[in-house]
């Protein structure tokens, strides 16, 4: 976790380790978005279609581990986002 600086605006609504985030996915693994932590970031994610209930799949990471590629929905489109942004996407268990 020392690889990135945490966004200062991350809301402490839950203990940090309570839920897995999009950053914890293994390459190729899919999961469903549960909630979005950082309110400002959430607005951006929402308008780009990453809304709670959407399925996300980690398509891969950049060679240095950051940023990462998330495929949304039923292979609809691919988003590229930094680790600091991906950790605000919490997943359903």
């Amino acid at each position: 976790m020392a690889l990135f600086r945490r966004s200062a605006a991350v809301a402490a609504s839950q203990p940090a380790s309570a839920r897995r985030t999009a950053n914890d996915l293994r390459p190729g693994e899919s999961a469903t978005v549960c909630c979005l932590k950082d309110p400002q970031m959430a607005l951006k994610l929402l308008e780009m279609g990453c809304i709670p209930g959407t399925q996300v799949r980690l398509a891969g990471r950049a060679p240095l581990g950051d940023p990462l590629m998330l495929v949304l929905g039923d292979e609809e489109y691919t988003l590229s986002l930094r680790v600091s942004e991906a950790i605000t996407i919490q997943l359903k268990d």
Partner: protein, 739 residues
Amino acid sequence: MAGATKDAVRPATPQPGPGSAAPPAERLPRLALIGNPNSGKTSLFNQLTGLNQKVGNFPGVTVDRKTGVAQLGGQRRAEVVDLPGTYSLYPKSLDERVIADLLYNPLSPDYPDFVVVTVDASNLRRSLLLFSQLADLGLPAILALNMTDVAAERGIQIDLAALEQELGVPVVPTNARKGVGLAALRIVMADRLAARPPAGRFWQPGAALQPLLASIRQHFDLPNDYLALHYAHQFGQLHFLSEEDRAYLAQVTEQQAFDSTAEQAAETVARYAAINELLLEVVTVTRTERREPASNRIDKVLTHRVFGYLIFLAILFLLFQAIFAWAQYPMDLIDQGISLLSAAIQAHFSGPLVRLLTEGVIAGLGGVLIFIPQIALLFAFLAVLEETGYMARVTFLMDKLMRPFGLSGKSVVPLISGLACAVPAIMGARTIESWKDRMLTIFVTPLMSCSARIPVYTVLVALVVPDESWLGIFNMRGLVLMGLYLLGLGSALLSALILKTVLKARERSYFIMEFPVYRWPRWKNVGLTIVEKVKAFIFQAGKVIVAISVLLWVLASYGPGNRQDKAEARLRSIQADINTPDAKGNYPKRLALEPAELERQVAAARLETSYAGTFGHVIEPVIRPLGFDWKIGIALLTSFAAREVFVGTMSTIYSVGQDADLGTVQQKLANEKDPHGQPFFTPVRALSLLVFYVFAMQCMSTLAVTYRETKSWRWPLGQLVYMTGLAYAASLLVWQLFS
């Protein structure tokens, strides 16, 4: 708004849109193009307007405002404004803020009569978010359903009639790449000139917000609640509101405990729910085989940990070759053409005005035109990389490497292009959305060693570094040259690191972006990009370059009083004396000069007594600690026009008192002696001068283009002061430590 309820399928009260009145006869009807990034908006704009495009500025901001005139059906024409790509009407960047300023102010001179929303058919759900917001604002709209071919490939079928029914606006399937559907779109647009707002209401603000919205609506006399809601969300960023208006909005939103973030999130989620429901009846997906889209498979190679970087390196190499080597041919042609033109004029006319025209104005014009091949080639490359979708992958690959320096993955291409020329490179920084990242990139790019420094480097390196090999493999001169390039790169990155801490971000910046699917470039878009960039450079930066060029010419050609004429007369009289015997019939023991050499000496003497020469003498005390004399001082001033001028000036000024047959600049410099009779250009002195040229902002074209790109003199002046200071400090260090 009679008749607006006709296609309404939702329980909606039609509301008069602010722009629904028929446009006054004296001006062209205006339509705005709006859509998600990568939804084919730019292609559509290019198809509609062709070469009838103008690039201007949105008032008060540095965002380019592209407009053009489109021929509609039935001999009617309309003005088209291309708005920045966005995912919603809540702006997240400075670019997107332009949209709010335009669409929320019916009194704006740019206020559109209707909007054409470009929608990616393969991403209908997400694209309709923006459309639904526009519809709720009450703007008359047409939906251009783009990329239907991609949708078909993915087995997505869209029932057009049902979609039109549900949305309440005309839906025109288009393929902006191939120009399909354009004719239909033109006809529908002509039809829409007396348009009415869409009737469907996708989402309504909750009852809890009603008191707030009612007071805002009343205060500003707004046509609907949704526009009032946007005033409540965005009043701080709307340029057209007065201070009192903002104070009023701040007060009412405070009073009603309006939580902008929570309301926005709730609205977006609710809109997606409504859109999902709507699409159930419109879209059917039949997928015969489940296989990964081709784009994802290509990504596995292009973003691979080894091949990804190798391919990127290969593309950079090609790009570098293009602006370094290929551009040389047209540049030489332009150079020769300008010389021929000057020579032809000078052969037929003479006088100070003709010299001003040829050596000042035409030379300055040549200094502008000479950049066109490099700008055209760089933007051809950038446009192809952007069009194919590869640029997004470059950002992805390089982001982590650049971030420690405060730069982003998007800074890589401008920085590398800076190795060829900072002028197109700084223009290329436009692809960086984040204001802070872009300013950092623009600021440090001139530190990359550009091709105009090569003549300076090669002359000085060849002068003092022996042509020997080190360890039997590495050529010493090559090593020193590489060291200079690395010094430039290192200083650019370090400067970014320092500036990062000084510069405050103007907005929260997001890295998140959509990976566009890989596509073949549309050559029409590539061509139009080149034309647009070249035009922008010539007409905006070009003016400054010609002006400074004329000024520098005056400084180097004229001197205070008649000192120049006196110096010339003295030289000529000495020469004349040589051929005249004195009273005793003896000839002076000096050798007569060749006529050509005499002319060279006259030129040098005139330069020394000119304003530029005076400048050299005046600044000598300042540059003496760097190991420079007044002659170098003159070269520093004249090479401000362009660094390669350094070589020519040094050649002129150092021809004083040297043998006529010394041809090259290098020999002239090598023969220059200091007062003790030792060679003037010692390795340390040459190194000090080299280091100065690595750092110094010796380029008026770069300053002019930085001004054009930042729309403020603060940035170019900052570059000038910072880089000159850096150059001075570095040279001082070299000279004081090693001499």
